[in-house]
């Protein structure tokens, strides 16, 4: 399952999620402001609390909105 660590107010998070939706990719949205476990998991994954962070395997991730990197991550 693709996971998106995000915040409601973050415009690049909104764009990243819209991009996944445009490609028909199902994802789990994890709000690091609202969800303490998500906050911890995001920090463990990327070493920081910058968003959006997108991962498909809880190991490799893309920080920020980068279409080419997201496509590569998803194996498109």
């Amino acid at each position: 399952m693709v996971k998106v660590y995000s915040m409601t107010s973050c415009p690049w998070c909104v764009k990243a999620k819209k991009y996944l939706e445009s490609k028909g990719v199902a994802y789990q949205n994890l709000d690091i402001e609202e969800d303490e476990a998500a906050r911890v998991a995001c920090q463990q994954l990327s070493g920081d609390l910058m968003v959006p962070v997108i991962t498909a395997n809880d190991k490799d991730y893309v920080l920020g909105f980068d279409k080419a990197k997201i496509d590569a991550l998803l194996g498109a």
Binding site: M7, S9, C10, P11, W12, C13, V14, K15, K18, Y19, S22, I32, E33, D48, L49, M50, V51, P52, L63, G64, K67
Partner: protein
């Protein structure tokens, strides 16, 4: 494989307030409208936490406001595509051609509403720390600095807005501005109410330091002509903007500042090509003037397309 050719009455380049307002008016006039945006829908206001000077709305987040305008434009048939980047444009002649990664659009009229892009910090080492202490989006990256010491560089409304947002997260916030503040008095007054905010005016960053992440900045006090280093976990850069014209600068006439040379009728030097919003030559750049430009450019495009029939 050859790209598919698609016809549209109007292609709007840029989905900020000007572009989306143009799409709303052109769509409502019965035209087929495509809006292309490669960055953020909303442009500069996508990052704005609170807008208080849009008539009829007491206070609204930038994202919320622009989302409403997008919905309104889409309700009149406009299509907003924020993932298909433009490769090149051919704006002289008829039809106009806008080639994206996936298609070639033939348009009767084109509205350029590309707005402004943020200036990057002009220190040679800034790129090395980008994402590691040098940031341009407080709403995306601010959480990483909760309880830490950060600075906002800049003195306009966007900088003060960013500083207010970050002051609620950081333990200490410096607002660093090379001259006086240019932001609205109301915004500055609100920022001054935060006890953890220190204003460093007539001050500019001269160097950044840190191993893998930013840990300090060297500041130059322009009045006292003194230099000092302060510990810093991050700087958020808001030092102004410049017109976003690279895509068509070789085709459309620009003024000395690099903005598109077009009058209040939004007409450029090319028939059927209109400029709207902050990218156009103008004295005042506000959301309201962007919306006004979008209106004028769209109605100009309607009139131009009718003249072709």
């Amino acid at each position: 494989m050859a790209k598919e050719h698609r016809k549209r009455d109007v292609v709007v380049i840029g989905a900020g307030m000007a572009g989306l307002t143009a799409a709303l008016y052109a769509g409502r006039s019965g035209l087929s409208v495509l809006v292309l945006e490669s960055e953020l829908v909303g442009g500069q206001i996508a990052n704005a936490a609170g807008i208080e000077n849009y008539p009829g709305i007491l206070r609204v987040g930038g994202g919320e406001l622009i989302s409403a305008v997008q919905t309104q434009a889409e309700s009149f048939g406009a299509v907003v595509d924020e993932f298909d980047s433009i490769v090149r444009v051919e704006l002289s002649g008829q039809p106009k051609m806008v080639e994206t990664e996936s298609a070639v659009y033939e348009a009767g009229a084109v509205i350029l509403a590309t707005g402004m892009k943020r200036r990057k910090l002009s220190l040679s080492e800034a790129g090395r720390y980008e994402g590691r202490g040098v940031h341009y989006c407080e709403l995306c990256d601010g959480q990483a600095y909760a309880g830490k010491t950060v600075a906002v560089i800049g003195g306009g409304n966007a900088a003060v807005d960013a500083a207010e947002y970050l002051s609620k997260l950081a333990s200490k916030l410096y607002l660093i501005q090379r001259s006086e503040l240019r932001a609205d008095a109301a915004s500055v007054k609100r920022l001054r109410e935060h006890a953890n905010v220190e204003f460093l005016l007539h001050t500019e960053p001269r160097a950044l330091a840190g191993d893998t992440k930013l840990t300090a900045a060297t500041l130059f006090d322009r009045k006292a002509e003194t230099t000092r280093e302060i510990p810093l976990d991050a700087v958020f850069v808001n030092i102004g903007v410049e017109p976003n014209t690279a895509l068509f600068a070789d085709q459309v006439k620009l003024d000395k500042s690099g903005n598109i040379a077009a009058g209040e009728d939004c007409r450029t030097n090319l028939d059927g090509v209109f400029a709207a919003g902050d990218v156009r030559t103008k004295e005042v750049r506000q959301l309201t003037t962007a919306a006004a430009d979008g209106t004028v450019a769209a109605l100009g495009a309607v009139k131009y397309l009718r003249s072709l029939q």
